[in-house]
């Protein structure tokens, strides 16, 4: 008996998202699909004990969920006999010929639907984590330091829009793909970044979100191996490879230069590096591939001093042409400083700040402070560190800047 229960739990863990994705396609309704999914698993516990575990548990669960949904719609239709839409939905569902095919496509459909640009940007991430990753509303709220009620409300609104505005449950056509894929990649990268460098609070990394983002990246890679998908997955793997080296046991921030590279995860670096190469050979690479390529150059350097800064500056040049952005300019300035010295970097950063850009970005001021410090311009360094301190809310970064400030005294 407990064997069957364990088997049901295993199927839930491994396959519930696939089954949900298929039920959403069949039912065209997220809430109805979730209800049907849970009813199907509920029935499975009893039925599989009596009749044995079916050959294809997944097909059995989809089929059972579909019948449960038909029951639900019939009950609703009895109470609201005048609802023509409900009856049409029921009829359509009864006639749908369900076969076990297309199940992988269903998961891809689910990702594209949850990341549809017509949904509010702040709803795409929680909806994806809820529906594709099966995180609870409470888990999502904790990860993003928001109230569960606020997260739940965003998810409810998004689902209502999917239903009422009829956002289709499909993988976009080839002509729409680049733009729609961007939106999916952006959501995954947001999840990763939120986990990797929490924007505020005491913890430097939130492992769960980085793990979920990488899982999503792998899933997308399996379903749609486009160059930018490879690029994003590679970028996340290469960042993740440094996770245990980027903070001390007491939670202090350790800069790239000072990290113990023996603590970098070689397996993740190898996997990320291979993906970067594969993506670059397609010649259809974009910003994620280029950022991953930069991360790979860092990962391959045996020490900070032996980093190929020339190549990194070159990659930043290409990246800047693809997506002009002051943040990328800032990163390029840091690489130029490594190659040509602090003064060259400082000049570039001052150009950006003089244009009025990145004034409120703490990393621009801390980089400026760092270069001034290296050039022995202590007063300017102090002013810039103080400005950076005002702008950063993340505890480990604040302590790092305070440490630098006390060194200046």
């Amino acid at each position: 008996m407990s064997d069957v229960r364990a088997r049901v739990e295993q199927v839930y863990r491994e396959d519930s998202r696939r089954i949900l994705a298929t039920l959403i396609r069949l039912l065209g309704d997220f809430d109805l699909a979730e209800e049907a999914l849970h009813e199907a698993f509920f029935v499975a516990v009893e039925r599989w004990q009596r009749d044995g575990v079916p050959d294809s548990p997944r097909a059995w669960l989809v089929s059972t969920g579909r019948f449960k949904a038909i029951d639900v719609l019939r009950r609703r239709a009895r109470f609201k006999a005048s609802q023509p839409l409900l009856l049409a939905q029921l009829e359509e569902l009864e006639q749908t010929d369900w076969s076990g095919e297309d199940v992988e496509d269903d998961r891809l459909r689910l990702i594209f639907t949850c990341c549809h640009p017509a949904l509010a940007a702040d709803a795409q991430v929680p909806l994806t984590l809820r529906e594709v990753c099966d995180l609870s509303t409470e888990e999502i709220a904790r990860a993003f330091l928001s109230a569960p009620a606020a997260i739940a409300q965003r998810i409810v609104r998004a689902k209502a829009k999917i239903r009422d505005a009829k956002i289709p449950y499909q993988v976009p056509s080839l002509s729409e793909l680049p733009e729609r894929l961007d939106s999916v990649l952006r959501v995954i990268y947001l999840v990763f970044n939120e986990g990797y460098s929490a924007s505020m609070g005491a913890e430097l990394t939130r492992v769960d979100l980085t793990r979920e983002a990488i899982r999503l990246g792998r899933l997308l890679m399996e379903l749609l191996p486009e160059p930018e998908v490879m690029g994003l997955l590679a970028l996340m793997l290469l960042h993740e490879s440094r996770r245990s080296a980027r903070s001390s046991p007491s939670g202090e921030l350790i800069l790239l230069d000072d990290q113990d590279r023996s603590r970098w995860d070689a397996a993740l670096i190898a996997e990320g590096g291979a993906l970067v190469e594969r993506a670059l050979t397609t010649r259809r690479f974009g910003p994620y591939c280029l950022q991953a390529a930069i991360a790979a150059v860092h990962a391959e350097a045996p020490s900070a001093a032996e980093t190929d800064w020339q190549q990194i500056v070159g990659l930043y040049d290409v990246l800047l042409r693809a997506v002009p952005s002051p943040v990328i300019e800032l990163n390029r300035a840091v690489a130029v400083a490594k190659r040509d010295g602090a003064l060259a970097g400082l000049t570039l950063i001052e150009e950006i700040l003089d244009r009025g850009e990145l004034q409120d970005y703490h990393l621009a001021h801390s980089a400026r402070a760092e270069f001034c410090r290296q050039l022995g311009r202590a007063e300017e360094a102090r002013a810039a560190y103080l400005r950076a301190l005002e702008l950063t809310r993340q505890e480990p970064e604040r302590r790092f800047i305070q440490g630098r400030l006390s060194e200046l005294d």
Binding site: L85, A118, D164, A165, K166, I167, P168, Q170, P172, E176
Partner: protein, 114 residues
């Protein structure tokens, strides 16, 4: 499913920007939507300066000059279309020539509960 595509633009600029569409182009686009079988209705509107707002309060009709709300962009026209889903509606809306100089709000039509 029906969608109403509301075309908004700053009407002082609608016809004067380098990307502004000529009437002939707008007409041709409407014809192409008609040809695809997705057209229910479409019209361009006169300027908001010609707008009149009416309200019925306590059985009394109130009439005022001007649009319901003063906004930076004004309603310049609309398409009422039949589309399979929001993606198809977005395709139709995005290619409305005036979308190059203004914007198009896409709203699903609600079935009345009767």
């Amino acid at each position: 499913m029906k969608y109403l595509c509301l075309v908004y633009s700053d009407e002082r600029l609608l016809h004067t920007l380098p990307d502004s569409p000529e009437d002939a182009e707008c007409w041709a686009y409407a014809e192409s939507i008609q040809g695809s079988g997705r057209m229910v209705a479409a019209e361009a509107l006169e300027s908001v300066q010609t707008a009149t707002t009416v309200r019925m309060r306590n059985g009394k009709l109130s009439i005022t000059d001007g649009p319901f709300a003063e906004t930076k962009e004004q309603l310049a026209g609309f398409y009422l279309i039949d589309a399979k889903d929001l993606n198809e509606a977005i395709q139709v809306a995005g290619n409305i020539p005036a979308a190059r100089v203004g914007c198009v709000e896409v709203r699903p039509v609600r079935q009345l509960n009767v």
